[in-house]
C-alpha cells in the first residue's frame, strides 16, 4: 500500500466515524426531544464540509498523486516485463533461427578492394584462417542441405 492510499483510508475512516456519530446524536435525540433548527443547520454544514474534504482526498489520491502512489498504469512500451530465464529470452532450446545465407556469403566473401578506399574490412579479417575455412564449409553444407530440400 502506498503512503497516499494509507492516508486516504485512514482519513476516510476517521471522517465517516465522526459523521456517523454526529448524525446519530442529532437524528436520534433522547426520547421526547426535537433537534433544533440551528443544530440541523450545523449538521448540514458539517456534512457538506466532511463530504467535500473526503471527495477532495479521493481526487488527490486518484489524480494528482500518481507519482506518490504509483497506481496509474505506465504506458505498455515503457513498463519492463519480467525476463524469462536468460537463455530463453532469445530462443527455446534446440530452436535455431537460421540466418539468410546470402548475408553470410557476403560477409565471408574474400575482401574486395574498393578504389581509393582500400580493402573493406569484413569479419573474416579477424578470424583465423582455420576458423574462416570452417565457417565457409558450414555455410556450403547449409546451402547444399537447403538445395536438397528444395529438390526433394
Amino acid at each position: 500500500m502506498s503512503l497516499a492510499d494509507a492516508l486516504l483510508i485512514g482519513t476516510s475512516g476517521a471522517l465517516i466515524g465522526w459523521l456517523a456519530w454526529r448524525l446519530a446524536r442529532e437524528l436520534l435525540p433522547a426520547p421526547g426531544a426535537h433537534p433544533s433548527m440551528p443544530a440541523r443547520a450545523a449538521l448540514r454544514r458539517r456534512l457538506v464540509l466532511g463530504l467535500g474534504a473526503w471527495l477532495g482526498l479521493v481526487g488527490l489520491n486518484l489524480g494528482g498523486c500518481q507519482w506518490l502512489s504509483g497506481r496509474s498504469a505506465p504506458p505498455e512500451q515503457t513498463r519492463p516485463r519480467v525476463m524469462h530465464c536468460y537463455h530463453r529470452t532469445l530462443l527455446s532450446p534446440g530452436e535455431g533461427r537460421g540466418l539468410d545465407p546470402r548475408t553470410r556469403e557476403r560477409l565471408l566473401a574474400p575482401p574486395t578492394p574498393a578504389p581509393g578506399r582500400g580493402t573493406r574490412p569484413g569479419p573474416h579479417c579477424w578470424l583465423s584462417p582455420r576458423v574462416l575455412d570452417k565457417a565457409r564449409a558450414q555455410l556450403l553444407a547449409e546451402r547444399a542441405r537447403a538445395a536438397g530440400v528444395d529438390q526433394a
Binding site: 504509483g70 496509474s72 525476463m83 529470452t89 532469445l90 530462443l91 533461427r97 540466418l99 558450414q138 555455410l139
Partner: protein, 346 residues
C-alpha cells in the same frame, strides 16, 4: 508477507568454481570481495542424487550448466547423458577453450539445446584482454564454427563494456558470418571480479543508448536475433524505438526465475546473487523458495525508486549487483547509483 515464490521450470547448476579464463567482467560470486562460504564440490553421485530429487519435486524441464568452466568437470559427458535421458532441456555456458571438435562429439552437439559462448569483440586483443587469457578469441570462434558444423544451436554473448562497445556493429557481423543463432547483449553488471573493474568497464547511459540503437538497426539488416540478459533501467536508457530488444526486469522469485545451485549444493536466488537460501541436500526446493531470505529478495526495491511509477515492474535494475556492490538487495543497482542524476522522470 507476500505469497511464497512460485515453482519454476529452470535452474542453473554451477558445476565447478574452477575456470581456465579470468574475465575482467566475471560475476562469479566466489570472486566477490566479501568471502563466499566455501563448501566441497559435489561429486558425480551426490550431484545426480540431488538433481534427481529436485527435478522430480520441482517439475524442472530445463537445466543450464555453468560454472566456472563446466568443461573442466571430467564427468560432464556423463551429466549431459543423464539430463538428456530424462528429456530435460540443456543449455551449456562455456568459454569454449576446451570445446574441440572431439569434445563436441563426446557431449553431443544436438543433445545440448543451446550452447552459449562469449563473443566479446572482433579484435582478438580486446576479446583476449576481457577474457584474461591469450588465445581466447581464436578458441571461442573455432568452437562456434565447429558447433555450427555439427548442427548445434549457438548463441554468442556480448558483454557491453567501455572496452568493446565501439565494436558492437562488427561483432554482429561476425556473429552472422559464423552462423550464430542469436546474440545476447548483456550490459556489464558489476559483481565478482567485475566489481573491481567498474571504472574501466562501465559504460554511460548515453553510450549504452547509442549501442542499443546501432544493435536495433543492424539486427534488422542482418536478420540476427538479439536478446538483453541484464535489466536496463528505462529511466536511464529510453527503450522507445527499440522494437527488436526487450529490456526486461529482474525475474528473481517469479515463475521465470533462474535459481542457481552452487558447486557445493546450496541454492541462491540467481547466478549473480551471493545470498544462500539454504542447502538443497538438506531441504526441499519448495522450502527454500518460501524462505524469508527469498521473500525479502523478491520484495527489495531501492528507496531511490520509491516515487517512480515503474517501481513495481522495473524493480530498480539488478538487485544482486546492488547486494555485491552496495551491501543490500534494496540498495540501488550500481549502474543506477552511478548515473542517478541522469534519470528521466517516468
Amino acid at each position: 508477507m507476500s505469497a511464497p515464490a512460485p515453482p519454476v521450470e529452470d535452474m542453473i547448476v554451477e558445476l565447478t568454481r574452477a575456470c581456465d579464463h579470468d574475465c575482467l567482467h566475471c560475476y562469479n560470486v566466489w570472486k566477490n570481495r566479501a568471502p563466499y562460504p566455501p563448501a566441497p564440490e559435489l561429486g558425480t553421485a551426490g550431484l545426480l542424487e540431488l538433481l534427481g530429487r529436485v527435478v522430480e519435486q520441482e517439475g524442472l524441464t530445463h537445466i543450464t550448466l555453468s560454472g566456472g568452466e563446466p568443461l573442466l568437470r571430467q564427468d560432464l559427458p556423463l551429466l549431459v547423458d543423464w539430463l538428456a535421458a530424462r528429456r530435460l532441456g540443456i543449455t551449456l555456458v562455456t568459454n569454449g577453450r576446451l570445446l574441440t571438435a572431439a569434445a563436441i562429439e563426446r557431449l553431443g552437439a544436438r543433445r545440448v539445446g543451446v550452447w552459449e559462448l562469449p563473443l566479446l569483440a572482433v579484435d582478438r586483443a580486446v576479446h583476449d584482454r576481457l577474457s584474461g587469457r591469450a588465445g581466447a578469441f581464436d578458441r571461442a570462434t573455432e568452437a562456434m564454427a565447429d558447433l555450427k558444423l555439427a548442427g548445434a544451436t549457438v548463441v554468442g554473448v556480448f558483454v557491453m563494456t567501455r572496452l568493446n562497445l565501439p565494436q558492437l556493429s562488427q561483432v554482429m557481423e561476425l556473429a552472422t558470418a559464423l552462423g550464430l543463432d542469436g546474440l545476447m547483449l548483456n550490459r556489464f553488471n558489476p559483481g565478482g571480479r567485475g566489481a573491481e573493474h567498474v571504472e574501466l568497464l562501465q559504460s554511460s547511459p548515453a553510450e549504452l543508448a547509442a549501442a542499443f540503437s546501432v544493435a536495433e538497426r543492424r539486427s534488422a539488416a542482418l536478420g540476427l536475433p538479439l536478446a538483453v540478459g541484464v535489466p536496463v533501467p528505462p529511466c536511464l536508457v529510453d527503450p522507445a524505438g527499440l522494437t527488436r530488444l526487450d529490456f526486461g526486469a529482474c525475474s528473481a522469485g517469479t515463475a521465470h526465475a533462474y535459481y542457481t545451485l552452487d558447486p557445493g549444493g546450496r541454492l541462491r536466488p540467481c547466478n549473480h546473487s551471493p545470498t544462500i537460501l539454504g542447502d538443497l541436500r538438506l531441504e526441499s526446493f519448495a522450502a527454500l523458495r518460501a524462505a524469508p531470505a527469498m521473500q525479502a529478495f523478491r520484495a527489495a526495491r531501492p528507496a531511490l525508486c520509491a516515487a517512480c511509477r515503474l517501481a513495481d515492474s522495473c524493480q530498480g535494475g539488478c538487485k544482486a549487483a546492488a547486494e555485491v556492490c552496495c551491501g543490500s538487495a534494496s540498495a540501488p543497482d550500481p549502474f543506477l547509483a552511478a548515473f542517478a542524476a541522469q534519470r528521466r522522470r517516468l
